[in-house]
């Protein structure tokens, strides 16, 4: 590999705010904060049989980002590609009440939500940097 690559597999929980935050934080890391080193893996495609996603996760380290303690992203990675390198559960960072609160449309996101995204993105970056430093 030319540059070290880290995969981030995030949940997109459609029933809670945490899913939206997880998704946006992961995209922020991929697009802005660590664009050269992070590849996002699409969880629904991963589960439905996406070979590219699964093969990448077998070869490269993966961080699973879950909104709640059901840990769908982490369990899916373990099931289809082996161990996760690291994982993050947003309810540990933002609090369970916040994460499990009602989902908000991207149209209606407020300053407070974007702050949550930043906080989550920062935690993801710490884990990415730790892997890159190995």
């Amino acid at each position: 590999m030319d540059e070290k690559q880290v995969g981030v597999l995030s949940c997109s929980g459609e029933e809670c705010l945490g899913g939206t935050i997880a998704r946006l934080a992961t995209r922020k890391v991929m697009e802005t904060l660590r664009p050269d080193n992070v590849v996002t893996l699409c969880l629904p495609l991963y589960i439905a049989g996406g070979d590219e996603e699964r093969d990448f996760a077998k070869e490269y380290p993966v961080i699973a980002v879950d909104a709640c303690d059901k840990c769908c992203a982490k369990r899916a990675t373990i099931k289809y590609s082996g161990a996760v390198k690291d994982s993050l559960v947003l309810s540990d960072i933002l609090g369970e009440d916040v994460v499990l609160s009602k989902i908000v449309s991207a149209r209606d996101l407020k300053e407070e939500h974007y702050k949550m995204v930043d906080k989550a993105a920062e935690e993801i970056c710490k884990k990415v940097d730790k892997i890159l430093a190995e």
Binding site: D2, Q5, G7, M30, E31, P35, V39, L41, D51, E52, E53, D55, F56
Partner: protein
């Protein structure tokens, strides 16, 4: 490939042959993308069927010598691509049609014979003109991030630096785009094909494909005449994303000067290096 017709049956209620004409039309519409033109509605108000009649080749099914369907087509200034006369088909196949208007065993048999005849005519045409394309291909892959770029290794494949391939057999070629193109574009939503019969010089436009990201002009790697286009792409351009070398092929051509064209094309080894360079330079991000 099942041909798609605009089917105009006479649907006559004077004789059983009219019922057979309707049955043939129904079977064709159920087993292919053919669409029925209701002769009664078409006669009184043709607006509904004008588009189908223009877009698909017209198949006229007359029940008997009165040829009502043919006359209706002529009245509407339509060009008839194929004609069937049920009574004549019955005679040729030694089938006696009943006097009533109910479809019996013999009538159903005749309907099936006519449908088979139409299908076999198309299959023969397909076989004659079709390029002998390999049933499956062997690929070399180049990976970048999670993306996999395939390139077929078979002899007969030629590539241009415009990322279009040609598979050449004798004086014919099938063309399409490479994995680099379909991955760069992401989900392809529109396909504008080259016109059948068009004569194209090497490196001239041969249609385009479009996604939400960009429009890609297909630059023909060879000169020749367009013989056929991949009609499945009209409804499902995403086939190009699935596999641009197999189900996602674009067009077939009769070559006019391949010996000269070849000099400006690459084979697998040369193009694979080009592909790798392009992939490394273009970091695919959504």
């Amino acid at each position: 490939m099942n041909k798609e017709y605009a089917v105009l049956p006479c649907n006559g209620l004077d004789k059983c042959a009219g019922c057979v004409s309707k049955e043939v039309a129904v079977i064709l519409s159920e087993n292919s993308e053919s669409e029925i033109i209701c002769p009664v509605l078409f006669h009184t108000s043709d607006a509904r069927y004008n588009k189908i009649a223009q877009e698909k080749p017209l198949l006229v099914i007359d029940g008997c010598a009165t040829r009502c369907a043919s006359k209706l087509a002529a009245e509407k200034n339509l060009k008839i691509a194929e004609k069937i006369n049920v009574t004549e088909e019955a005679k040729a196949n030694h089938i006696t049609l009943g006097k009533g208007l109910q479809m019996g065993e013999e009538e159903m048999k005749l309907a099936k014979i006519i449908v088979d005849k139409l299908t076999q005519v198309q299959k023969a045409a397909d076989t004659e003109d079709a390029i002998a394309f390999p049933a499956s291909l062997t690929y070399e892959v180049y990976k970048k991030d999670k993306f996999v770029f395939r390139l077929p290794k078979e002899e007969g494949f030629y590539f241009s630096e415009n990322d279009v391939w040609a598979y050449v057999v004798g004086n014919k070629a099938r063309i399409g785009v490479t994995d680099f193109v379909q991955k760069s574009l992401s989900d392809i939503m529109f396909f504008t094909p080259p016109a059948i019969g068009n004569q194209i010089e090497q490196f001239e436009d041969a249609g385009n494909i479009e996604s939400a990201k960009a429009v890609f002009e297909i630059i023909s790697p060879v000169s020749g005449t367009i013989l056929a286009i991949n009609e499945k792409l009209m409804e499902a351009p995403e086939l190009i994303n699935q596999n641009p070398y197999e189900q996602g092929w674009i067009a077939e051509m009769e070559l006019s000067d391949f010996e000269s064209d070849k000099e400006l094309l690459l084979t697998f080894d040369g193009y694979f290096e080009v592909l790798k360079r392009k992939v490394d330079e273009f970091h695919v991000k959504h």
